[in-house]
């Protein structure tokens, strides 16, 4: 879950601590009558593992992204990082950029989340040579 934005990072802007949007509500606050409750850390770890599969194939990458984007949350930077590295293994630049567009869209009206994510991912973006949609001018319609 995207609680990271609310931890005061040494480099992050402190003004990011705003009113808690529902997206950061931990799973435990849902009214399940029974069933396993997964912690945010377990969720993140599960998805990082999914995208870290060395021989992940293109279908699995796309399926994983579609499932992830279907959830009511913005994926943590570490999950997006793992997905971007999977794109690198699959030589899929198009999907890498699309992932950035998708997480920006998932943030919805919370416009501070996407720049923070890009900031967190910058080392990976530079390492893998991935341009952001903004750098390519693709964010304008």
């Amino acid at each position: 879950m995207f609680r990271a934005v609310f931890r005061l990072s040494s480099t992050g802007a402190r003004c990011l601590v705003r009113s808690k949007p529902s997206i950061s509500a931990p799973l435990a606050s849902r009214c399940y009558s029974h069933g396993q409750v997964e912690t945010d850390e377990e969720f993140d770890a599960r998805w990082v593992t999914y995208f870290s599969k060395p021989d992940i194939d293109a279908w699995e990458l796309r399926k994983g992204m579609n499932t992830l984007i279907g959830y009511d949350l913005v994926p943590e930077a570490k999950i997006v990082d793992s997905a971007l590295r999977a794109c690198r293994r699959l030589n899929d630049m198009a999907s890498a950029i699309r992932i950035l567009e998708a997480v920006k869209d998932k943030a919805g009206p919370h416009k501070e989340i996407y720049p923070y994510l890009i900031q967190e991912l910058q080392p990976t973006l530079s390492e893998l040579g991935i341009s952001t949609p903004e750098q390519l001018g693709m964010d304008k319609l």
Partner: protein, 261 residues
């Protein structure tokens, strides 16, 4: 005819398997000729031969069963197995198209925008004609069951009425679906969405037409007093086929029309 000391049916020699095989050959090679040499004559001959084969082969089966008494209980059991196995093979046929649909829609490619429905595709509203189609087919499942119970209870008039109603509903479905096809905002050529949509629903529509014809033949036979209250397997086979067609539609509706929108 010599007496047989068993209950099985040793079928008399028949030319129809051969004419059917020749028809299949002419139809398929005719298709290739049509594609490459723009002549439909070979395909047309093949199709006519196939229709003649089907008519005469099945007419012979009716003669053997209804008029000559060859369809004893063990023979009928074999026919039941046969129909069940055939329908099972048809299930696998559709399974392939559902596989294609889910392969494409669970992991949409970047060319589609990474989303489903793909960018630029305006899907049909599942709560409009497709929902009506669902109601029509479900109703036809009720009427065909009504026809069966009428037949088993010896109620000739109601069997004819309910079987007729089933066929009318099947025809109504076909008309509605044809109108949907004409008015759809996308075509079979519109990427993998159009391809999976029209191939899956198209083959389903073909099966609705085949099932309707099968039921119509049963109606004709019912009117001509072929069926008894205890022996009417041709009708049962048609009813099984019709239920199969209905179930395939339910999967199509839920997967493509509803989830896929």
């Amino acid at each position: 005819m010599a007496h047989q000391a068993h209950a099985y049916h040793m079928v008399d020699p028949s030319p129809w398997p051969l004419t059917g095989a020749i028809a299949a050959l002419l139809m398929t090679s005719g298709l290739a000729v049509w594609f490459h040499q723009h002549s439909m004559i070979l395909m047309a001959i093949g199709t006519v031969l196939m229709l003649l084969t089907m008519y005469q082969w099945w007419r012979d089966i009716v003669r053997e069963g209804t008029f000559q008494g060859h369809h004893t209980p063990p023979v009928q059991k074999g026919l039941r197995y046969g129909m069940i196995l055939f329908i099972t093979s048809e299930v696998f046929f559709f399974l392939g198209f559902f596989w294609a649909f889910y392969h494409a829609s669970l992991a949409p490619t970047p060319e589609l925008g990474g989303c489903w429905p793909p960018t630029g595709i305006f899907t049909l509203d599942p709560l409009e004609v497709p929902l009506l189609n669902t109601a029509v087919l479900l109703a036809s499942g009720v009427t065909v069951t009504w026809a069966h119970h009428s037949m088993m209870g010896g109620d000739r008039k109601q069997a004819i009425q309910s079987l007729t109603m089933t066929i009318v509903l099947g025809f109504y479905f076909t008309v509605l679906q044809a109108m949907e096809y004409v008015d759809a905002p996308f075509t079979i050529g519109d990427g993998v969405y159009g391809a999976t949509f029209f191939v899956a629903t198209g083959f389903h529509g073909l099966h609705v037409m085949i099932g309707s014809i099968f039921l119509a033949v049963c109606l004709l036979r019912q009117i001509k007093h072929h069926f008894t209250s205890g022996h009417h397997f041709g009708f049962e086979a048609a009813a099984w086929y019709w239920h199969f067609v209905d179930v395939v539609w339910l999967f199509l509706y839920v997967s493509i029309y509803w989830w896929g929108s």
